[in-house]
Amino acid sequence: MTNLQLWTYCVVGATFALYIFIAIKARASTTGEFYVAGKGVHPVLNGMATGADWMSAASFISMAGLIAFKGYDASVYLMGWTGGYCLLAMLLAPYLRKYGKFTVPEFIGDRFYSQTARVVAVICLIVASLTYVIGQMKGIGVAFSRFLEIPFNYGLFLGMGIVFIYAVLGGMKGVTYTQIAQYCVLIFAYTVPAIFISLQLTGVALPQLGLGSTMADGSGVFLLDKLDKTLLDLGFNAYTTQKGSTLNMFLLTLSLMIGTAGLPHVITRFFTVPKVRDARSSAGWALVFIAILYTTAPAVGAMARLNLIHTIQADSITPDTSQNLKLDALPAWFTNWEKTGLLKHDDKNGDGRIQYVGKNFTGTDVNGNPIQNEMTKVDRDIMVLANPEIANLPNWVIALVAAGGIAAALSTAAGLLLAISSAISHDIVKGIVAKDIDDKTELMAGRIAMAGAILVAGYLGLHPPGFAAQVVALAFGLAASSIFPALMMGIFAKRVNNTGAVCGMLAGLGSTLVYIFWFKGWFFIPGTAMAADTAANWVLGISPGSFGAVGALINFVVALSISSVTAPPPEHIQHLVEDIRVPMGAGSAVDH
């Protein structure tokens, strides 16, 4: 066993022992503890748990890579996945906490006095959460197979086993305290390599400032200027300027913001704090903890890109490529990552060295032959995973990245699985199928639903449907076009009635689904797309991923106009709305 593997086993093993210890300490004994951790979570701790709940394998592993290769255009993810917390804090969280029930579909069903509305919300919740869970399962498997070099499915089983122990036993209570621990692991794992690399490149410890600083090589050139110049010289696109269309950037940012605020597993976290006041500040704390990673990610992305290019490619492009990486002296990380298939090279001109250039590059080597790109595959995900190795950081830092990636994936998976199992046991079983079951039976139903959800998620992780990569747009589209508008109107538009709300949700949901399926294939089945997924075919140039905001607008318009021509909601519903608008009396709402 190599030194790196030993470190990885120790660090990952220690974190797993911690999660199991918490599982044993934090068992749930009532439905209140199982669904909302007994509403006793301190707002700062809930903020931390929300950070881990929200930041998934995608945030931890993929986002910096996305930024590294898209530069400025990737800002949509940074703004979209943080700006949603403003909407959540000001428009939803405090009021839903005041209402004081257990699940998101429950509020929608009660406020719009309609089982149909509740069922539509449950379906949206399950589809959005399940599609999201697939990605987490994949992230767990990748982290295990690369760092511990055990087969993908063993890694997945191990991850499922850990989640099973603390989520089935502890419900929201167990999930909350493990998420707090997982946040600490993942943020430490993310920032430590970032600080090391920022110090190496710029001499500034804080990555957020390092990104704006000059290079430490004494040239006095700003890092971002150097990156722009290097990329342009090598025939890539510039880093700090816009490439895509402004309309799509605008709509995608808005869709991601609205979708973030409408994702049930995030909203439910704010049901766990003691007071309405705590729900407000807790959203702020959540964003503080998220911002630590999200403001570090741009630095990681830019610095990793610069490091990768400089490791392979000589500083300046001249016919003489004698400073490029030699094939017979490839570093260990290069060959290791090639084994995973995430990195590939091909010495096209047979000079025994690798040339790494963009598609706009037009230059010739010493023999007069055109220089071609020989890095045939550089997967975005390796920018975070391989970054510490590329920068020659010590083995314990690399081991930490493995533990952090696994923590990010596990914490999000647990939150999603909890949202799914609560919707099944509380909204379907208790709410519709068997209304008169007692607390103990419902708790058992919750545990069984959780166990079932873990098995389904595990199966989907082992046999991911071909469309796994496309479904993120679907999850955000569903949350943005159906759940967010229904919740917001439930609080802010007293006049919206059952018919209006149900029609609005179906219109928003339907239009978004049709728009996505039209270009991606019906139910993502290959070959069934009605038109090629290209900018020329999109209506007004709006990409399917950006459509959620339009779906939300359709939902608002339909719900408000239908409500205005049909009967107003009954008196007790209007009182309910007036009641959730003021914080006073939230304590009494705890009783069920």
Binding site: C86, M90, F222, L224, R280, T295, V582, M584
Partner: protein, 84 residues
């Protein structure tokens, strides 16, 4: 107008004010006017529009939520609708 209505109106005004700032820093400075702002440099080598898109908007979001929470707590007390 009743106290409950006044409280709700003050709340709506506060939310709208916060969301205007939310919109300006992200969609305004980070997207629509990013190119123009990029000619200004801050904190060393950051083009301003790029900084807003990848750093500044996020810091502003955090500040906005805490400002909102603080003002709402004041309103709760003023209109006597606080939980305690």
């Amino acid at each position: 107008m009743s106290d409950a209505q006044k409280y709700w109106q003050a709340n709506i005004r506060l939310v709208i004010g916060c969301l205007v700032v939310w919109f300006v820093v992200s969609f305004g400075c980070g997207i629509l006017f990013a190119e123009q702002l990029n000619s200004i440099r801050i904190l060393g080598g950051y083009p301003l529009g790029f900084w807003f898109a990848q750093q500044g908007s996020i810091y502003t979001f955090v500040a906005l939520i805490f400002f909102y929470a603080w003002r709402m707590n004041q309103l709760d007390k003023k209109f006597n609708v606080s939980e305690d």
